[in-house]
Symmetry: C2
Subunit: 285 residues, 2 copies
């Protein structure tokens, strides 16, 4: 598989704190129908860090079943290497095409610990691995040198780098490309930086927005124009990222039950939901 283009990160919606299998299947099917390149099940937006092993295995199976020919990537992160490898095995059994791995931590991790995690997982699986750099949730910040060190391992197929404005994203991409093997694609996350990172030449957009509103994300990726989405990015920033906003969109459209996020996470406030409804109306949704 190619790690290029738009990868959609759907929610893993809950109903009364249990995996809502029907809602999840419908979300994945809708996303795939839009023509995204890949679906990443159990990304951060898919609440992987809140799901039990059983829930994760069930979610990957549902995603694969409903994705047709579109490859499904599976988030496998956990604090403990043993559990990460269990998740990798389960994902492979369920038919995932690749794995997404962030160095999830409780005790802050050093470089040798992060390298050891990727080394141990890479030697325990046959699937391609995407390095997932998300300092905000993991507490670990990759340097370009650490991307390079980990990318030398077998099975590393792509890197998911935090997005930045064009002026920073372009030189960082150049630096990463000078350090990592050419077969490793470089993608970004952070939907508000999509236009700049696209212009900088990143290979892939690991997209929260595409997991819920894929047509809008694909239009941004095609045209390089997201001017109409600025109010949405403002709401992302205010709500601590896209997760709570996507949950509100899904709830508002009846694609997920009310309060579809895992507790203790709380969705948007009522005033934020009212603003969101306005934003979506202006977008013609």
């Amino acid at each position: 598989m190619e790690h290029r283009g738009v990868s959609a990160f759907p929610l893993t919606p809950l109903d009364e704190d249990r995996l809502d299998e029907a809602a999840y299947a419908a979300l994945v099917a809708r996303v795939v129908a839009s023509g995204v390149a890949t679906v990443t099940a159990l990304g951060s937006t898919g609440s992987y860090a809140y799901c039990s092993r059983d829930e994760r295995a069930a979610a990957i199976a549902i995603a694969v079943e409903n994705a047709g020919a579109t490859p499904v990537l599976a988030g496998i992160g956990a604090t403990r290497t043993r559990h990460v490898i269990e998740h990798a095995d389960d994902a492979a059994s369920a038919g995932a095409a690749a794995l997404l791995l962030a160095p999830v931590s409780y005790q802050p991790l050093g470089d040798d610990e992060v390298f050891g995690l990727f080394r141990d997982v890479a030697s325990a699986t046959d699937l391609p691995i995407v390095i997932y750099d998300n300092p905000r949730t993991t507490g670990y910040t990759f340097t370009p040198e650490m991307y390079a060190r980990v990318a030398e391992l077998p099975r590393i197929a792509s890197i998911k780098v935090p997005g930045r404005p064009l002026a920073e994203a372009a030189p960082l991409l150049e630096r990463i490309r000078s350090l990592v093997p050419p077969h490793v694609s470089v993608g970004f996350s952070g939907d508000g930086f999509a236009v700049g990172c696209r212009e900088a030449g990143y290979d892939a957009w690991y997209s929260v927005l595409a997991g819920t509103l894929p047509e809008i994300a694909l239009r941004v990726w095609e045209t390089g124009d997201d001017a109409a989405l600025n109010p949405l990015w403002d709401l992302f920033a205010e709500a601590g990222g896209g997760l709570r906003v996507m949950a509100a969109i899904a709830e508002q459209n009846g694609w997920a039950a009310p309060a579809c996020l895992p507790r203790p996470l709380i969705g948007l406030t009522d005033p934020q939901r009212a603003r969101l409804a306005d934003i979506l109306a202006h977008l013609g949704m």
Copy 2:
């Protein structure tokens, strides 16, 4: 039970990445024999954030069995409220006397989410709860006002506050005492701050050191003198906290198998182990 004095935080040692039940039982028994006030099983030093539900339940049962009349507190933190409540139920079934709860996060948590977590857990258990504030591992920083808001809930018995030098610890304690109900004890963690926090009048020392070298910790608590331990505190700081140092002490003394920490965590380097051996020799160990 009283949440006062020294609470010992033993390691949860692994052998070949599996819970080392015999080593754990012996660690708990040795700690209890020293006369600590309480034992906290599955604290951060007890690697709760790396253990499966089954491992946690087994560890609490072993701790209770080996603690005799000494009360056992049980760490129950997890990213998801549902899992926290499962751990609380398991701890109660295993005979724990109280629960230690940190707002473990993946998505950074807001104040209402942290309050909701404690509210939901407090209404699901009959055991006393210790609020565990550890910004370094959870990414969430309590304000004194948040201590007060959570401490108003039923069952909140104590707060475990990050230690500070006396000049900061004393006014903070005064502020907390002015805000929280008088039945809520205020303890600290951060062994290097034990002397200052003791002098400031904190009720309890939630102690990493006491989980492995309880006699030394109890002497510090009794005398208010830790001058001989400064090289140890330096090593704690260099090794990212006391966990890796305690693991090396246990391994060095044959109280735990080699590499007793959960992967991806890596123990001390060989030069650090050599320094540690020197430090312990100077302490007469």
